[in-house]
Amino acid sequence: MKDMGLLSQLVYYFSHNGMYVLSQFNQTFLVSIYGVLLGAIVGIPLGIWISQYRRLSPVIIGIANVIQTIPSLAMLSILMLGLGLGQTTVIVTVFLYSLLPIIKNTYTGMLSVDADVLDAGKGMGMTRFQVMMTIRIPLSLSVIIAGIRNALVIGIGITVIGSFIGSGGLGDIIVRGTNATNGGAIILAGALPTALMAIITDLVLSFIEKRLTPKTSSER
């Protein structure tokens, strides 16, 4: 392997460890998705909630902000003390980091809905629930999804680092590469799929974002 060029080394690695890379890819992907999904399940309702009770918003967003400022490696280590090694710790970390973008975007999305439209909806006899489901959420959906997109990209990065505490995934390949002499190709073998994953999820989510944005013109 030593004599080959970097690119051919990489091709060689993929051809011999293709299935392994794929399974690590899946693992990384799933861990990130789980974390962000949890973040969405908690963050979206929280964002909606603080948009209704605006006084709470500085507190909640403040807490999410503080979480975000903790370096991810430190966070992983701290959580590891309580949760031990493994995927759970990484999922929880991704969850914590995805809170801020999701809460913040949900909150701003909710607040960016035209007050006159809301007033008209309520004034014409919609219940609070109907206003939420037929006006607020549809009109802020694209902003909320943009938050999830952000969270997922952050989450993938954290998951890769998470291999340090034994969650496996593409990070494992990278770590192995850094430990090997002349492991450049191995590092790339882990890093390239990671980058690809981030780019693809971002593209897919931006597509979903566009699809879910309510139509406001008959021409599109």
Binding site: D114, D116, V117, D119, A120, G121, K122, G123, M124, G125, M126, T127, Q130, T134, I135, P138, L139, P214, K215, T216, S217, S218, E219
Partner: protein, 402 residues
């Protein structure tokens, strides 16, 4: 009463008293305009009607039912609501927007669609616009939809908060025509907030003038123009508008002179000459003992009489042009001026002579109205019963029966 508001008061949590002792009775088919300076409590008052705000005290009843005992959601579905910034749902088609309340009320799909077609026609917009989105319509078109959306579920009362404030004058006028049509021809009842006095005077059957949370004056547009309650109202209406409006609100009785020189038919020529001399007039109006206008005699007639004992009644001109005291100047001025007479006798409904209008006074008012410029309240020219020529009969004046 369709809508009755009694002793309404609204104090906001910050202690601001936005509405204080507001009282109003609204009958079916009325068009109520709230007008006043910004911050005078118009919006607050209006929003209490559909319980978008809760009054601090006082009661609002619709068809004698206290609305505070109703379900607010049901109440709102039964009241049309139009706001200045239109508030169409940007992510719904025009059809979905129009069908909003019918859908909330659980109408069937077919019935809703039928109503949507009816409403777009009422809005005088093309039917295929139903498939478009609000963002694809002009501001005026959007607000037309906003207006008909508010009555898509056959709402009887429609609340409008400065609905046309953001539109250009021409578009505004065509929308005013639309709502006027809805009120006059469909019998809808409007509560309409505006800051445009012309709009209020043009549309309303009753104007509510507000200042600092209080009603300053509540009356018909005519009465408000005729008798502004105080300087605030005068200022709000504007000197210019008051003057312009004068021919249409002032009645003949308000500008006539109340001391016409008259004589009874049994008096003699001598008496007539003496009276003319005393009062310095060249024409006398002839009335019977009860004061009913009979005709007139002028100096020329008297000169022709040789016997000083002839009774006035023997040579009275019985064809006299006159106007009724309660007729509006705007309605009579053309005819008066066309007669070319200097002065016109004014009678009440029983033809009793009550005064005289001088041509000068009339011209002053018409001239001011045209120019719109305030003029000092000049006294009309001297009260001379001159030049009351015989004139053709018409609906305002008439011929004295022999």
């Amino acid at each position: 009463m369709l809508l009755s508001m009694e002793h309404l008061r609204k104090e906001y949590p910050n202690g601001k008293i936005a509405v204080d002792d507001f009282n109003l009775q609204v009958g079916r088919g009325e068009f109520i305009a709230f007008i006043g300076t910004s911050g005078s409590g118009k919006t607050t008052t209006m929003r209490m009607i559909n319980r978008m705000l809760k009054q601090t005290s006082g009661t609002i009843k619709i068809n004698d039912k206290d609305i505070s005992k109703m379900d607010p959601v049901k109440l709102r579905r039964s009241i049309g609501y139009v706001i200045q910034n239109i508030g169409l749902m940007p992510h719904m088609t025009i059809q979905e927007n129009i069908e909003m309340v019918p859908k909330l009320l659980g109408w069937s799909k077919e019935k809703r669609a039928e109503q949507a077609h009816k409403m777009i026609e009422l809005a005088q917009l093309p039917d295929d616009m139903l498939k478009r989105y609000p963002g694809e319509l002009s501001g005026g078109q959007q607000q037309r939809i906003g207006v008909v959306r508010a009555l898509a579920a056959d709402q009887e009362i429609i609340l409008m908060d400065e609905p046309f404030g953001a539109l250009d004058p021409i578009t505004r006028e065509s929308l005013q025509d639309l709502v006027k049509h809805l009120q006059e021809d469909l019998g809808k009842t409007f509560i309409f907030v505006t800051h445009d006095m012309d709009e209020a005077l043009h549309l309303a059957t009753k104007v509510v003038i507000m200042s600092q949370g209080k009603q300053v004056q509540v009356d018909t547009p005519e009465n408000i123009l005729r008798h502004p309650a105080n300087d605030f109202v005068t200022n709000l209406i504007g000197e210019e508008r008051l003057i312009r409006a004068q021919p249409n609100i002032l009645s003949v009785s308000q500008i006539m002179l109340k001391n016409p020189v008259s004589i009874t038919p049994d008096k003699t020529v001598d008496d007539a000459i003496e009276l003319m001399h005393d009062r310095r007039v060249d024409t006398l109006l002839v009335t019977d003992d009860a004061g009913v206008l009979q005709g007139y005699v002028d100096l020329e007639d008297i000169n022709r009489i040789t016997d000083p004992h002839t009774a006035v009644g023997d040579f009275t001109n019985r064809q006299v042009f006159f106007v009724k005291a309660d007729s509006l100047i705007g309605d009579t001025v053309d005819r008066i001026l066309k007669q070319g007479v200097k002065n016109v006798p004014v009678v009440d409904k029983d033809k009793h002579l009550v005064g005289i209008v001088t041509r000068t006074a009339l011209v002053d008012i018409v001239y001011d109205a045209l120019r719109g410029a305030p003029e000092a309240n000049e006294e009309p020219a001297s009260p001379i019963n001159a030049d009351i020529h015989a004139a053709a009969t018409h609906d305002e004046g008439g011929e004295i029966p022999q």
